[in-house]
């Protein structure tokens, strides 16, 4: 684990990892919010929920395009191998994203069918979250590669482990959604979100433990990385930090500190995400293709790094500004952003 070489491919692995992480936490909470729709049967509550994310969801989802597009650009071989391997979950995710994406606009353009677009919003969010989790599990468990192509069947992604990761992502996004609502709403809606936060936090913790216990048994390399001396020095802080953050999270929810639960949940996500990174690095297709094997030629990577270095900070600034413009809690009685 010592002396990680810093070359352009490694830098790009971190950039892609950053884009995917930004996607997970940003779209994570608005997908989670969509999945919680069935728990809020009142139309007025749903209007408020929708309005807390309507001005920003599109920007959130753009990180998914950067993650996928960046993988295509920086690691074309990995993109070409992974996408056919997780073909079905990807198609399912896209279909889920279609339904929930258009629901943002359509539900305000109809009256009689409003309920139907609410179903599309909740169902689409659930389908997208579940598929993303399943895709993650399918990649972690390893996929069959022959030469420069995927060599498995089109159902290889479906295993008990991938179902477990699928449900884990659903629970985690649900937690982000609930804590976001706690932060952005008031009154009964917020109180109900607090109640849901408890359950979702328990579900998320169970999921973290279950995935953490199962992962080292998938591949011998994962086991060595997590439990063997001396690498355990580098891996042990992660579970310790997860425990500390969880305790803080429990306390902030108990004390009803509206803002803290959301940010602590984000930190929890960051920690588990780092754990995944520890398991996978330096492979981009676990145990088959490393980041160096999959990397595009240097001239491609160098060309893009200029853009990333200049543009990503600018993007983060105007994204932060957009969030700032729509800051504060949203009330039911004062209408929404939408007519």
């Amino acid at each position: 684990m010592t002396g990680v070489p810093i070359d352009i491919a490694t830098v790009w692995a971190f950039i892609i990892a950053f884009a995917v992480f930004m996607y997970i936490v940003m779209d994570g909470f608005d997908l989670g919010l969509g999945m919680l729709f069935p728990m809020f049967p009142k139309k007025a509550d749903r209007d408020v929920m929708m309005n807390t994310v309507a001005p920003v969801w599109d920007g959130n989802e753009t990180w998914l395009v950067l993650g996928g597009g960046g993988l295509f650009a920086a690691f074309p071989l990995a993109y070409g191998v992974l996408m056919p391997a997780i073909y079905t979950p990807i198609i399912a995710m896209l279909i889920g994203l279609i339904f929930r994406g258009v629901a943002f606009e359509f539900r305000w353009r109809t009256h009689g069918e409003r309920n139907r677009w609410d179903v599309a919003f909740a169902g689409g969010s659930l389908l997208a979250a579940l598929s993303q989790g399943i895709a993650l599990g399918a990649i972690l468990q390893g996929i069959q590669v022959d030469g420069r192509s995927y060599a498995g069947g089109w159902w290889d992604w479906l295993t008990p482990f991938s179902i477990l990761t699928g449900l884990s992502v659903v629970a985690g996004y649900g937690l982000l959604g609930a804590t976001w609502l706690v932060m952005k709403t008031t009154g009964e809606l917020r109180d109900h979100a607090y109640r849901l936060t408890w359950w979702l936090l328990i579900a998320t913790l169970v999921a973290i433990v279950a995935v953490s216990l199962a992962t080292p048994f998938l591949q011998a390399e994962y086991w060595r990385r997590w439990f063997q001396w001396p690498s355990i020095i580098f891996t042990a802080p992660i579970p310790i930090a997860v425990t500390v953050v969880t305790l803080m999270l429990l306390k902030s929810v108990a004390n009803k500190q509206d803002h803290r639960p959301f940010f602590l949940s984000l930190i929890l996500f960051a920690l588990t995400y780092a754990g995944l990174g520890v398991s996978m690095y330096p492979y981009i297709v676990p145990q088959s293709i490393t980041i160096w094997q999959a990397a595009a030629p240097d001239i491609s990577l160098n060309f893009m790094i200029v853009g990333v270095a200049i543009l990503v900070p600018i993007i983060l600034i105007y994204t932060a500004w957009a969030y700032w413009v729509f800051r504060g809690k949203v009330h039911a009685d004062s209408g929404g952003y939408h007519s």
Binding site: P76, I98, V102, R148, V325, S334
Partner: protein, 470 residues
């Protein structure tokens, strides 16, 4: 539903289907975003209420169309990997960075400022809001820049070498981006987007003028749209002709198919107006043609020789009938657009622009014309590129993912069902929004802005009032 099709045919069908649905939304939102920026600028400049009413009216339509463009675009961005994995591996080092730049410079800009544009008029003030609108409009144009660069490179590849793994490796990014057909394609597409939007706006204006020719909003819309048709349609025809000459130079086989030249013409080629292409026999049946006019248009000389498809091995032919007919549909609509533009100039001169019912009916009928022309043009250029994904270098048959036919067939069926439901409803909602005329005090998507608890005081209510100037 798709028994007997192989995986690659199914992947091509899927790409054509999802792409055909997708392309109409960006074409519409590129034009509409610019139109919205112009309307808001006119409102800020003149203070006339009609402009903000029109802005809010079209903003609601833009929101629905943009949402559909976003979701169908995400499908496109993943489809390269799912269905065209070998292409992704080989062309990724070139096409990937161009698309990554599209995301970094365009998608984030559009998405980041979209929320403020849709919901922020009273939260950020007029000037900052106009800035947001401008950023969204510029974002759509930057997006067109990169995506057409990537597409043009696939049509006229330049600035690259091929490495040991069979990947295309850029050696001069300038040549890759500004490849030989790119400037022509970019101009042609952006003008097409502007014309497409102009004809939608013109049709909506004309529809309401037919019912009440005194309404200010529809009068302004119709007049603006007709100026666009009159000024841009001729420029577009000129740009298209220049693009054609460029294609003749770099993709002659595509021109042979577009023009229907199965045989060579050593003494000057005719201009073939119509005919029935027969791929099997390699002849054009029942041609209606103007002698020597083809050479005149393509080579500016009556007797210039022109090679035909008979000089090209059959396995390198595209589907001639599709290319031949889609090209004629596009050109035909282009001349109809020019026609209505000229009629509108005449009507303006006579002072009957807002009262001439026949012109209004013509404009209503032409409402979807831009979409059809964009689709036909896209079919012409993409089918004309076949049998290659990267022209002359990588065949479509060698680009696909190692997938079983049932996998591609089921995803294709799923996309067809989902697209018809979702986009069918979307078009229905847009048409319903268009059915009501813009009126006094038109509300944007942001009516009833919430007063946040965060202690923020929204700017004074301005939706219907003139902006403070200076």
């Amino acid at each position: 539903m798709f028994d007997g099709f192989d995986a690659i045919t199914l992947a091509r069908l899927q790409f054509s289907f999802t792409m055909s649905f997708h392309i109409v939304f960006p074409a519409f939102s590129i034009g509409l975003a610019s139109y919205l920026a112009v309307l808001e600028a006119l409102w800020l400049w003149t203070g006339r209420e009609v402009f903000i009413n029109l802005f809010n009216y079209w903003l609601k339509i833009f929101a629905v169309a943009f949402g559909m463009g976003v979701v169908s675009g995400i499908v496109m961005s993943y489809q390269f990997g799912t269905n065209w994995a070998v292409y992704s591996d080989k062309a990724g080092p070139i096409v990937g960075p161009l698309m990554a730049y599209e995301v970094l410079t365009a998608f984030f800009l559009e998405a980041g400022f979209l929320g403020v544009m849709l919901f922020g008029l009273e939260r950020v003030g007029h000037r900052l809001h106009f800035f947001a609108t401008l950023m969204v409009a510029i974002g759509t144009l930057i997006s067109a820049f990169w995506i057409l660069s990537a597409n043009s490179w696939m049509q006229t590849p330049a600035g690259h070498t091929v490495n040991a793994a069979g990947q295309f490796v850029p050696d001069d990014w300038w040549k890759v981006i500004f490849n030989p057909s790119f400037p022509y394609r970019l101009v042609h597409m952006v003008l097409a987007a502007y014309l497409t939007t102009a004809f939608v706006v013109g049709a909506v204006g004309a529809y309401h003028l037919l019912k009440n020719s005194a309404l200010e909003g529809p009068r302004v819309m119709f007049s603006m749209a007709m100026w666009m048709a009159a000024l841009v349609a001729p420029i577009q025809i000129f740009a298209g002709d220049q693009h054609g000459l460029n294609t003749l130079e770099h993709q002659p086989v595509k021109i042979m198919a577009m023009e229907g030249h199965f045989t060579s013409h050593p003494d000057g080629a005719p201009l073939i107006l119509f005919g029935l292409p027969d791929q099997e026999e390699g002849v054009l049946k029942y041609p209606i043609e103007i002698p020597h006019a083809g050479s005149l248009i393509l080579k500016h000389s009556l007797d210039a020789p022109l090679k035909g498809l008979d000089t090209v091995p059959r396995e390198n032919w595209p589907r001639v009938d599709i290319v031949f007919w889609s090209f004629r549909v596009m050109v035909g609509i282009g001349f109809l657009m020019l026609g209505i533009g000229l009629l509108s100039l005449w009507a303006r001169w006579r002072g009957i622009l807002h009262e001439w019912k026949l012109l209004h009916r013509f404009a209503v009928a032409m409402g979807p014309a831009g979409f059809i022309a964009v689709l036909a043009g896209w079919v012409t250029t993409e089918v004309g590129r076949q049998p290659y994904t990267v022209y002359g270098l990588l065949r479509t048959a060698d680009s696909a993912s190692p997938l079983a036919a049932p996998a591609v067939a089921s995803s294709l069926v799923a996309f067809i069902i989902v697209y018809f439901i979702v986009f069918g409803m979307g078009v229905f909602y847009i048409l319903r929004l268009m059915k009501a005329p813009p009126h006094h005090g038109e509300e944007g998507p942001s009516a009833d802005i919430p007063t946040h608890a965060g202690g923020l005081t929204p700017a004074q209510g301005v939706t219907a009032s003139a902006p403070a100037r200076g």
